[in-house]
């Protein structure tokens, strides 16, 4: 003997349709608020997933040692330089399986009228598969240790977006910059492409696809320096990374900087987390405003329909049923807003993903498929369920007071209402 839920929603639907413009505007508030929140959560978890994948690709068991004056401690006056002595020390540490000193420079390659910017990394080339998990050769073979004329070339250098592609066994001509003591315009340098690497993305702070890997010996000749840019230390397993890092930090004090992937991951995640909270709170405010909008619309609607409420009372609707009817109008508003908000949020997140990828932040740490790859927003099942239920919940709560007022109206007064 109780009103059917389906009838309640049918009546609610008819009531909303009867006030089309107002209903659409109310729904729109929910749509926008919900879409903003969803887009933010989805793209920031996409960003996070991209970064996490990146760092996991690099390998959580690799520590990077750099002299303290580098990128990660700007303004430092420390002048300690990394040399073979340090390599020997690091090789002697327990749980350390490999130690790879490397040189890293900037480079520009003029190709068919456009200039590509690239990196040159000089390292023991047999280390590539160890340092860059899953990196393989597309064509050719990795140069042997001691080969000072050949290089392994990153995917984007061999296949530039604009410019002439570089084929296997062709010369790569470039201008190498950032070598201490060299002339300011850079040094002209040419190597033979004996291997072209597969597309890989970013790892260990370089975009592999934009990198020309030359042998350690070649880099030594090029730089004319016994001091390295940095040293990679490969630890036997992830659990020992912290211990090894502590040992090294204790030994060197502030002379060097020891960077672990986990550390970077957590610091980047804290930045993206704060970004999400900040932008998410803007979305939350707009959703809150939309909720107040529902309270307002519902309240006005209840007042306007006073007479109708009187009729419902006269023909035997119970107070709870009247309350239910108005609550289902609110819930329906929320449900429609939730669905449209999810659709708009989905579209919006891809727009935002593209924007973020365009920035250095996204480009450097974003998607795995190359330098400017878009961040792929992540819509988890939880997020979708949240997107579809939360607006309904919010709208229903917003409808409580107006619906309660409707249910408590005096029938006689309501029927007299003009």
């Amino acid at each position: 003997m109780s009103m059917l839920i389906v009838d309640m929603f049918k009546l609610a639907y008819k009531a909303l349709i009867d006030r089309k413009v107002r209903s659409v505007l109310t729904v729109l508030g929910i749509t926008v608020g919900s879409a903003i929140i969803l887009a933010l959560i989805a793209s920031s978890s996409g960003l996070n997933a991209g970064i996490t994948a990146n760092i996991q690709k690099t390998g959580a068991n690799i520590l990077t040692i750099r002299n303290a004056g580098g990128f990660f401690s700007a303004g430092s006056t420390n002048t300690y330089l990394l040399s073979q002595t340090d390599v020997n020390y690091l090789k002697g540490l327990p749980d350390v399986v490999h130690v790879y000193p490397y040189y890293s420079y900037g480079a520009s390659i003029v190709s068919g009228g456009s200039t590509l910017s690239a990196s040159v990394i000089g390292i023991d080339l047999s280390a590539l598969p160890i340092l860059y998990n899953g990196l393989t050769v597309a064509e050719g073979t990795i140069p042997l240790t001691g080969d000072t004329t050949s290089a392994a070339v990153g995917w984007s250098i061999a296949n530039p977006i604009s410019g002439t592609p570089i084929g296997l066994h062709q010369m790569v001509e470039m201008t190498v910059t950032g070598i201490k003591g060299a002339k300011s315009g850079g040094i002209s340098y040419a190597v033979l492409a004996s291997a072209i690497l597969t597309q890989y993305g970013t790892a260990l702070f370089s975009n592999i696809d934009d990198t020309v890997f030359i042998s350690f010996q070649a880099a030594t000749y090029l730089s004319k320096s016994p001091y390295f840019t940095g040293i990679y230390v490969v630890v036997d397993n992830t659990n020992d990374v912290a211990t090894v890092q502590n040992t090294i930090t204790t030994y060197y004090g502030s002379n060097v900087r020891v960077i672990s992937p986990g550390q970077i991951l957590s610091s980047i995640q804290s930045i993206t987390g704060q970004l999400t909270i900040f932008l998410g709170s803007i979305g939350a405010v707009s959703l809150f405003v939309a909720t107040v909008g529902i309270v307002n619309t519902m309240y006005v609607s209840v007042m306007e329909r006073t007479r109708e409420i009187g009729i419902l009372k006269a023909i035997g609707y119970r107070p709870k049923q009247i309350m239910g009817m108005f609550l289902s109008e609110a819930a329906l508003t929320g449900a429609i807003g939730g669905v449209t908000g999810l659709m708009l949020g989905y579209a919006l997140s891809f727009l935002m993903g593209g924007e973020l990828a365009g920035s250095t932040f996204g480009g450097r740490f974003g998607g795995g498929g190359g330098g400017g790859a878009a961040i792929v927003p992540v819509f988890s099942t939880e997020l979708i369920i949240f997107a579809l239920t939360f607006p309904v919940l919010l709208a229903t709560v917003a409808g409580l007071y107006p619906a309660w007022r409707a249910s408590r109206m005096n029938a006689v007064a309501a029927l007299k209402y003009e």
């Binding site: 009103m3 059917l4 009838d7 109708e308 009729i311 009372k313 035997g316």
Partner: protein
Amino acid sequence: MPSNGQLAVQTVDLTKVYKVGHTEYPALRGVNLKIEKGEFVAIMGPSGSGKSTLLNLIGALDRQTSGKVIIEGIDLRKLGEDKLSLLRNHKLGFVYQSFNLIQRLSSIENVEMPLIARGMPERIRRSKSRKMLSAVGLASKAEKRPTELSGGEQQRVAIARALVTQPTLIIADEPTGNLDSKTTQEVVDQFIGVNKAFGTTILVVTHNPDIAERTQHIISIRDGLIEKDEYLQRIDSYSLG
């Protein structure tokens, strides 16, 4: 005075006092009446005499200040809000001067409304409502909205809505107040037909002596008291109409 022994409505020393600020306005000052099942009753009286107040109390829409309202043996004071709603839905049907239809719903949807409250499945309530609309001669206007209907047609939809629940008592508050004389006669005919066919008790508040003439029982009210309570001699006169 005819008697079949069963009362549809009884009031005992019924009073209703409205309070505005500290001033009290007594609308009813001790009304005692008895209406038997199957009667067609007119309640008459000038404006402000308390007849609408009486109707609201009998219709379980309002609470009295003192005294009793008994509908088919049920003392309304003993019922809570939900039970009163249930009583209105199952035993009472209302017809108003201003029709009180829901404007955005079609005729048939308006007629269905009281059945929806009962949780009756759509198929069953549709067919009941359609039958009732046919009975009032509006089968062809089932999908029309109130704004597309004449006053007389709207009132017939309202009557169909009141009847669809098969109530035992119909309460009509100046049901022909907004209608011309021809339509008035049609509506009254409708009431008489229902009264005869189903034995439904009908209580009509009216200013119109022609309508009162066609009932069996006229209760006149003045200043919150029953002035006159008379049974017409020609009990079957309406059947000639």
